[in-house]
Point group: C2
Chain length 98, copies 2
């Protein structure tokens, strides 16, 4: 792949504690709601959101990279689940005419 | 509002470091890519994702609650920006016929 062929895509990886896994940050948020006078909020889960740019030959290749990164580095599969989101801000370089 | 009128909506608040703000977690992820043999990944930003359920009279009222929570508790406006996402898993109770 040459630089001119590459696509640059922006993704987000959303990581959250699995159901049933203790989430002390979520409990802390719930515990603070009363002080703010906010009610009606429940089931708070606090996770991470990692946004990144992938440079690859095409979108499929970019997704493979993000999937691997999410599974091997960004989440702990024992206690966390994740999903991958393509962000609108993605862009692609204009390649040579085919 | 009676319980039967209430809607239960699920939202996510995505919080990220503003452009130009140091992001040591993002640098740590970038520093780990080489060890995993992953390349083509850049501009990594690590933020938080908070998912929560709001019980309110209607969707507009629920959004007001989430907006306030995001601005006052979940983000630090000096160094972070946020956006609010309505999640597909939202549900509403069936109210009395109008």
């Amino acid at each position: 792949m040459t630089e001119a062929d590459a696509v640059h895509l922006r993704f987000a990886v959303n990581v959250r504690p699995k159901d049933g896994i203790l989430d002390p940050q979520g409990r802390a948020v719930e515990g603070s709601l009363g002080h703010l006078g906010i009610d009606g909020v429940s089931s708070v889960r606090v996770g991470r959101r990692v946004e990144l740019t992938v440079t690859a030959a095409d979108e499929d290749a970019a997704r493979v990279v993000v999937e691997r990164l999410a599974a091997e580095l960004l989440s702990n599969p024992l206690i966390e689940s994740y999903d991958i989101e393509a962000l609108g801000g993605s862009s692609s370089l204009v390649g040579e005419p085919a």
